[in-house]
Amino acid sequence: MSVIFAVTEQRDGTLRKVSLEVVTAARRLADQLGAEVHAVVFGSGPVSGVDQLGAHGADRVLAATHPDFGLYSPDGFAATVAAAGKGAAAIVFAATATGRDLAPRVAARLGVGLSTDVTELGTEGGKVVVTRPVYAGKVLQRVRLDATPSLLSVRPNIFQPIAAAKAGAAGALTVPAFTARVKVTGIKAAATAALDVTEAPVVVSGGRGLKAPEHFALLEALAAAFGNAAVGASRAVVDAGWREHGAQVGQTGKTVSPNLYVAVGISGAIQHLAGMRTARTIVAINRDKDAPIFKVADYGIVGDLFEVVPRLTAEVKRLRAE
């Protein structure tokens, strides 16, 4: 039976949520192609949470264990996946910082094309066909992958994990000898356990309407009230140095697809809308009723954010305390 590899990710010995999304996407292809899903787990030792992989559609869970694999090892991971994946039908990665680095390495080593940041997938005539946003989502591109294996990466937060009980039989994957041309030496934590805007279920973003960088405290408080929220920012305030560039949502920043996107004091320039239009629900708070953001907001409030946001924070807090 042909095999589809799902390349998972862990951090500090715990499986990352995006891994279940990768397995869910791989399962969908496998069901259409009559293939098995083999989930690949890198680590320097046992990784917790791998039992979830079988529950979400992995027929086998293959541990690739090496002293260097507690952190990302670009050359080690690439050598391992390329060796294992040579005869596979497809290899599915996450379009994360790691997956975006790893997938092209494997593609180059196997001499096949790669489709990145996929948001829909299926098969036609036995070939993998995917849809991916281009021009920051202003247009969608449908692409057929003609090579075997077909390589693709899925955008985080799009393929919600779907339960599909499979054996998840544990096994080991051979790690071939490799030369570590790049050595990852560590991870410097951002703010305590900060969620990334690309992965958070709720994103609260601020723009120039906040008037000063210290007023982002209002959004931090709202994000804390939601409990599962990341704080994003418009290009204008990132360029002004108010927020880290990693928080920027838009065409020259990140594309996000949270369940809820709250745009505060953001007018909604085309570059910004491109980065958040796939959010399931959009809330806008802005004093200018003609701001373009209101054209895409499911729920808009016209008003002074300095009054609206604290009230919203209080209401969300109250509700979550119930």
Binding site: R11, R16, L71, Y72, A97, R105, A107, A108, R109, V112, G113, T116, D117, R132, P133, V134, Y135, A136, K138, V139, L140, Q141, R142, V143, R144, L145, R181, K183, V184, T185, G186, I187, K188, A189, A190, A194, T198, V238, E244, H245, G246, Q248, T252, G253, I270, Q271, R280, T281, I282, V283, F294, A297, Y299, G300, I301, G303, D304, L312, E315, L319
Partner: protein
Amino acid sequence: MRIAVCLKRVPDTTAKIAIGADGTSADEAGIKFVPNPYDEYAIEEALTLRQAAGDGETVVVSLGGDAAQETIRAALAMGIDRGVLLQAAGSADGLEVARALAAELKGGGFDLILFGKMAVDDYNHQVGVMVAELLELPCITAVSHLTIADGAVAAEREIEGGIELSGCALPAVLTCDKGLNSPRLPSLKGIMAAKKKPLDVKPVSLGAGTVTVLGLSYPAERKPGRIIGEGADAVPELVRLLREEAKVL
């Protein structure tokens, strides 16, 4: 220090994109094209490193149609020494583009080959890494902080919820992220000088590749926006809608 920068001509990020008559590519009519914004970080880094080294050369290489000459001139105006246009129509398969770039860069004696972390048109995030693999060079992607000393690279790159620290030896390939630097604007003197700088045009042919674009479409329109009220008094209604209608609370 010899540094190559790979540069792509892309539509300005403020441009509205219309699907062309062929149904598989964007209509270029009326669109303003610019150097890919992430590639500008690569150009700036090359100029800074070359200046700090005291000697060497900076080269910009672009793969594209004739119009990309204008994009290369923009890099020369910023201060890059010379340009190479690999004249080809481009490909949806990043590996084919990488093969053409790698063939040009191979044997060039570059200490560093810099890319933007991605192009804002196709969002492929792949050509820089593939070039490194084809040339068997170390590669660090999405670099937002960089130190080079004694032939070694120390880099920081943003990962979800943190900053990953990594290192490699020169020669190396790096792809550049926002935050690395602030790209300079070309000076008038630079623009004048750019007109006289060498720009080689070399026709190349790309392989057919294994990625076939079947078609482009517009994303589904969101349902029209709705303003539910004014001021803080509208908050209870918003919370009710988020809870009962959108079911996100």
